[in-house]
């Protein structure tokens, strides 16, 4: 650790860092590539959580293909009951299980390796993992046996089997235990002086994600426990508006965990693929603080045309208290590429405005996934999100396909793609296995990004013609009147199908290559990973 001693001035007020960390003997190894310390207990749970993440990604991905092929008007694959069943499974597996398993893995990695600490509790890590897995399996069992055709949101008075709510509660509490384990690790690292001064930037971003996760999971507990008791007929039906208010404290904020985690992953990948260093850490950290303080209140985005909550509440909360969380994202949108630009220019790629960008390592899937994620999230996800979340504009967007069009560019083109890029380093560094068919890996981020962008743009356009989300048949067969959507809307729905198929191919390539690498890949133990 390089510290600069200015003549005559004593060093920091804290005692010097314990460079060896606080690991018991034999519980730590040194990464053969980066030289960073890896806590073996944490490593085991990073692996377990990451593997489960990819398993649920596969379930959600196959569901996505079936949905895309059903909303493609000339294919219209699934019957009506299975469409809504698969839609429920898709939302939960993708938005909750894939992403949150992955995020718990990230928290364990960051808390131990970057803070040079042991994992606080093996027992908590086991309990958390067991509860999350049980919950996720229970939810999937309920959904696929047709006992919970209620969508991811399970809006009361729609009612599912008690097992469904119990599964969600188990998963949420399990996650909360994992997050507590992370905070305990942050605490013991500070107590044992395993690092000196402020935490690394990526760890700070992970702390922001973990704080948002606490808010999210508390809302989940407040709303899901009454719903569970109601499904057992132990209490009366929870109020519909109250349920929506608190449920979105879970539903929207869980996506804000993704934003904070994804931005941390951007900083991580920017550094590891190009050697990028942030221009000004105070700016980057300040932006994360704005997330912590203000991003959560934008759960109001879902209630902008609801009865009951007034205009003042809607305007204040939807604006993240005067758009301070938007400011944060716009700041990250500058600092991340700027750090890459600076690193590339220092390497001598200094020609013109964009010489650094053309010379960037586009053949490295870690870099391409990260940079495409940045562009898709910023240009498509961010712009549409803020616009649709404007209180009055939401009147022409609520519950149309414009909404999924927006969040497939944030959560899929943004978070999921960034996490895929992360996996291209997690597998060689944590599982210590190499990817095979590296040419295929290099094109994977492009295929996936192209498919998801096409699909999301087509959804957005279709939605602006009024095409609803969560809807089996826009021909309205059996209805007394036919709204007759514009021919352009039908064409766009065809493109949704095409985009979904392309994205699915990209997803499948990712999953197959990753599973192959984890179980059959060439081991790189004892030496550095093969550079991308």
């Amino acid at each position: 650790m390089s510290t600069i001693a200015i003549a005559g001035t004593p060093q920091a007020s804290e005692p010097p860092a314990n460079v060896a960390g606080n690991h018991p003997a034999g519980a730590v190894r040194k990464c053969d590539t980066t030289g960073l310390p890896v806590c073996k207990t944490a490593e085991r749970y990073v692996k377990l959580n990451a593997v489960m993440a990819v398993v649920f990604l596969l379930v959600g991905g196959v569901s996505a293909l079936l949905l895309g092929l059903t909303r493609w008007p000339s294919v219209h694959l699934l019957p009506v009951d299975w469409f809504y069943r698969i839609l429920t499974a898709h939302g939960l597996n993708m938005l909750i299980f894939w992403i949150i398993f992955m995020e718990v893995a990230i928290l364990y990695f960051v808390g131990t390796t970057l803070l040079n600490s042991r994992l606080a509790s093996k027992a908590l890590a086991f309990t958390s993992f067991a509860m999350m897995l049980t919950g996720a399996l229970l939810v999937n069992a309920m959904v696929f046996t047709g006992r919970a055709d209620v969508m991811m949101t399970s809006y009361v008075p729609l009612r599912a089997h008690p097992g469904f709510y119990l599964g969600v509660i188990l998963f949420a509490v399990g996650t909360l235990i994992g997050v507590i384990n992370f905070f305990a690790t942050v605490y013991i690292a500070k107590r044992d002086h395993t690092y000196e001064g402020s935490v690394p930037l990526v760890a700070f971003g992970a702390i922001a994600a973990a704080i948002i996760a606490v808010v999210t999971l508390l809302h989940g507990a407040i709303v899901m426990i009454p719903a569970f008791l109601w499904s057992l007929d132990l209490i009366g039906q929870p109020d519909a508006a109250w349920y929506r208010l608190v449920w979105w404290g879970l539903g929207h904020q869980s996506q804000q965990i993704n934003v904070a985690a994804m931005v941390s992953v951007w900083y991580f990948l920017a550094h590891i693929t190009t050697g990028a260093k942030p221009l000004n850490q105070a700016v980057c950290r300040g932006a994360f603080v704005l997330y912590i303080l203000f991003i959560n209140i934008a759960s109001a985005h879902h209630l902008l045309v609801d009865p009951g909550v007034g205009a003042t509440w809607k305007i204040w909360n939807t604006s993240y208290a005067m758009y301070l969380a938007v400011l944060a994202s716009m700041i990250h949108g500058f600092t991340v590429p700027a750090s890459v630009e600076l690193a590339m220019r220092k390497k001598g790629f200094d020609k013109g405005l964009f010489g650094w960008l053309f010379a960037a390592p586009w053949r490295n899937p870690g870099f391409s996934a990260f940079f495409l994620s940045l562009v898709i999230f910023g240009f498509l996800g961010g712009i549409t999100g803020v616009t649709l979340g404007t209180q009055q504009i939401n009147i022409i967007a609520h519950n149309t396909l414009r909404i999924p069009g927006h969040f497939h560019t944030t959560v899929v083109g943004g978070t999921s793609l960034a996490f895929m890029g992360l996996c291209y380093y997690v597998v060689p560094l944590v599982f210590r296995r190499e990817y095979a068919w590296r040419g295929l890996v290099r094109v994977q981020p492009y295929v996936f990004a192209a498919g998801i962008t096409l699909m999301a743009l087509a959804m957005s356009f279709a939605g602006s013609y009024g095409v609803p989300r969560r809807h089996w048949d826009i021909e309205f067969s059996g209805a007394p009147f036919s709204p007759g959507f514009d021919a352009a809307a039908h064409f766009m729905m065809g493109l949704v199908g095409v985009g979904a198929v392309v994205a699915f191919i990209g997803l499948l390539v990712f999953i197959l290559l990753t599973v192959h690498a984890v179980f059959l890949g060439r081991s790189n133990e004892g030496r550095a990973m093969t550079a991308w």
Binding site: S2, I4, K277, L279, M330, G333, F334, P337, A338, E341, L342, R345, L353, F354, W356, L357, G378, F379, G382, I383, T384, V386, T387, T390, Q392, I393, I395, I396, S464
Partner: protein, 45 residues
């Protein structure tokens, strides 16, 4: 002096600034196009 604390002459990132200004312009365009679309629908309070 360490690398990170050097004066800002070494911190020039004009390419990124152009990209982000492009982002701001597309943002403003999309945002106000949506207000225009909203102004065309029935009046409601």
């Amino acid at each position: 002096m360490s690398e990170e604390n050097r004066p800002e002459e070494n911190h020039k990132t004009p390419g990124t600034l152009v990209l982000t200004i492009l982002l701001l312009l597309s943002f403003a365009l999309y945002y106000f196009a949506n207000w225009k679309a909203l102004a065309d629908v029935w009046h409601v309070r």
